[in-house]
């Protein structure tokens, strides 16, 4: 395979070393102090999340800066943003697995875990942003005493199902891939408690050839299905907007535009997390510069595609000749919220160009900074799409303005805690890199090395 022409893992380690190097992370945790600091920080944010949500539930969505016309802002904008971040996990894992890109193996497990946490953060929003969240279950078709059913033409109805499906599939995909490694850790664990813990979740995996055969089929099937799922989910999210007639939303390029943006922001997130984890857990042998280099290339590619989306959206507006579309576009350039548009352009695409150079791609610090900038950029983009479209739609008389409140930010920062707390627990207690797949690769590479 193409990418194995140059070994992606150093050959001077044995299969056993791999078990040791990764397996020791959960069993004999290396970076206690930084991890603890991180955990405390994210727990604090999590607390903020609960406070904000309690406040929200007590008084109503009015605590946010919403109004008519801008009656969707932070909640929906962050829902889209989080979900976008999540997508990269699935994409890296699934797509690259199918393409047999071995370099994925050292990254996919983070990525998938990140997906899970991100989807949880995203999934929270559509429920808490409701005026009467305690009735959210009305969105499901169940035989109610009212005799009324949900309305399946509504993009919000689509939304609930898309997110649920996505959450379930990512969870299964992640867990199924995890089972063999749980077995490895189980067998290496010395303490009884760990043995039982991993033992139960390994489901008694024995590595039988027959099991492997079925397992591979199931895993690859899931992967094969996960790719169209990602595309469908974020396309559906984009329809949340495109289904309305609001200028700036009502456009056919929204689905691809959203999916690309999602992958883009997601890859950036993966890169950042991979860099941090490998730095603190000393996994340089597993997550190599080679990996980061490839990841950086993917980031660059998806970034350029997203940039194309930007260009085309503008072109689309002018090409349509629709006065209101054009007005909205102008307003994005020069209007009250122009900062969000130019901010998005700046953060998304300017630092990104550094990735043309190998030195930048291989420099952890620079790559991390670029990743950060992209995540910020996409944040601004989602905000821009939401607010600049809503605050000036059709009737001049109902033009409005949107100003965030403390609780907008409280809820948002809170979800960051909601994201990192489980993620930190994951890297602490679960093999955060695929052990068996790395062994597979290593073995193959050794073989290839031997036979010239």
């Amino acid at each position: 395979m193409a990418s194995t022409s140059r070994p992606i893992l150093p050959l001077d380690q044995s299969l056993h070393d791999v078990s040791v190097e990764i397996g020791r992370v959960p069993l004999r945790f290396p970076a206690r102090v930084p991890w603890l600091i991180a955990l405390i920080f994210s727990l604090a944010l999590l607390l903020l999340f609960f406070v904000s949500v309690t406040w929200l539930m007590t008084w109503g969505v009015g605590v946010w800066g919403l109004n008519i016309p801008v009656n969707w802002a932070f909640a929906i904008h962050l829902y889209v943003w989080w979900l976008g971040l999540g997508h990269a996990g699935t994409l890296i894992s699934a797509m690259l697995l199918l393409m047999g890109q071995d370099w994925r193996n050292s990254l996919n497990r983070f990525a998938e875990a990140m997906t899970l946490c991100a989807v949880v953060c995203a999934g929270i929003y559509p429920i808490i942003h409701l005026g009467r969240p305690w009735f959210f279950y009305w969105m499901f078709p169940y035989p109610a005493t009212m005799g009324v059913w949900p309305q399946f033409r509504s993009p919000l109805e689509w939304d609930i199902w898309a997110v649920l499906t996505y959450l379930t599939v990512s969870l299964l995909f992640w867990y199924i891939g995890l089972i063999p490694d749980l077995a490895t850790v189980r067998d290496r664990a010395k303490k009884r408690g760990w043995q039982v813990f991993f033992g139960i979740f390994a489901l008694g995996w024995r590595g039988s050839a027959r099991h492997w055969a079925r397992w591979q089929k199931a895993y690859r099937t899931t992967a094969a299905i996960a790719v169209p799922l990602v595309v469908s989910v974020h396309s559906e999210v984009s329809l949340l907007f495109a289904s309305g007639q609001v200028p700036g939303w009502h456009s056919t390029i929204f689905p691809p535009y959203f999916v690309l943006g999602a992958a883009f922001s997601g890859f950036a997130m993966v890169a950042m997390i991979a860099l941090v984890v490998r730095h603190f857990f000393g996994l340089k042998e597993i997550v190599t510069d080679q990996h980061m280099d490839v990841l950086a290339k993917v980031l660059l590619a998806s970034g350029l595609m997203t940039a194309y989306g930007y260009v085309f959206e503008v072109f689309d507006a002018f090409y349509s000749g629709d006065a209101r579309e054009i007005a909205t576009t102008y307003d994005r350039f020069f209007g009250m919220y122009a900062w969000s548009f130019w901010g998005a352009v700046l953060f998304n695409f300017v630092p990104l160009q550094g990735l043309w150079f190998k030195r930048v791609r291989r420099s952890p610090v620079l790559l991390f900074l670029i990743g950060t900038s992209v995540v910020i950029g996409m944040w601004l983009e989602r905000y821009m799409i939401l607010v600049t479209s809503l605050y000036k739609d059709f009737l001049v008389s109902s033009f409005g303005e949107y100003h965030t409140t403390f609780w907008d930010w409280g809820t948002y920062l809170g979800t960051i805690g909601l994201f990192f707390t489980p993620f930190l627990l994951f890297i602490r207690y679960i093999p955060s890199i695929s052990i068996f797949e790395d062994k597979e690769v290593l073995a193959r590479e050794k073989k290839e090395a031997r036979h010239g």
Binding site: R153, L164, A209
Partner: protein, 177 residues
């Protein structure tokens, strides 16, 4: 004196290739009830053990079909059960319905094979005789095992032990209930 009964013999090998070779030899030798254990899926092992199982794939197809059919059925039913005009749209608005149909098709297409896989693998199974054998824990690390079951017609305690030895097994252990 009669030795305590055993379930089979477990031979340990150092590399995937060794295991693969051993399996092939064992098949040639006419052993039927054999299994191989490895820390990662070994290429060609399925062929060597002549495992031909396409049910997983089909489960996925079936799941997808069931998912989409069921969802569509629900959507059509609720719109007939309580027909309400919505924005002048038709009662059965397939383009709109299809988004949810698709999502649930995917959900079921994933659930079915995964549950099926676990079911066919008889998992979860926390207690298994193999776990009782001292060196088997290495199967998840860097060793490869060939397992010949006692109920194999060709199984003969000493003969098979010798056979495993001839395959170059590093160690040979009896698996006891």
């Amino acid at each position: 004196m009669a030795e305590p009964p055993i379930l089979g013999l477990l031979g340990e090998f150092g590399t995937a290739d060794a295991l693969l070779g051993a399996v092939k030899r064992a098949r040639e030798a006419g052993y039927q009830h054999i299994d191989a254990f490895s820390p990662y899926p070994v290429e060609g092992m399925a062929e060597a053990l002549s495992i031909r199982d396409h049910r997983i794939g089909w489960l996925s197809v079936i799941g997808g079909a069931v998912g989409i059919a069921a969802t569509l059925a629900v959507q059509v039913f609720v719109n007939f059960d309580y027909p309400i005009e919505v924005g002048g749209r038709p009662l059965i608005a397939l383009p709109a319905f299809f988004v949810v149909d698709f999502e649930l098709m995917i959900l079921c297409a994933v659930l079915f094979p995964i549950i099926g896989m676990l079911w066919m693998n008889r998992l979860p199974r926390l207690h298994h005789p193999l776990f009782g054998t001292p060196r088997f824990s290495l199967a998840s690390d860097d060793r490869f095992f060939l397992y010949i079951e006692a109920d194999d017609p060709k199984f003969d305690r000493d003969g098979t032990r010798g056979f495993l030895g001839s395959l170059g097994a590093w160690s040979i252990e009896a698996v006891r209930p």
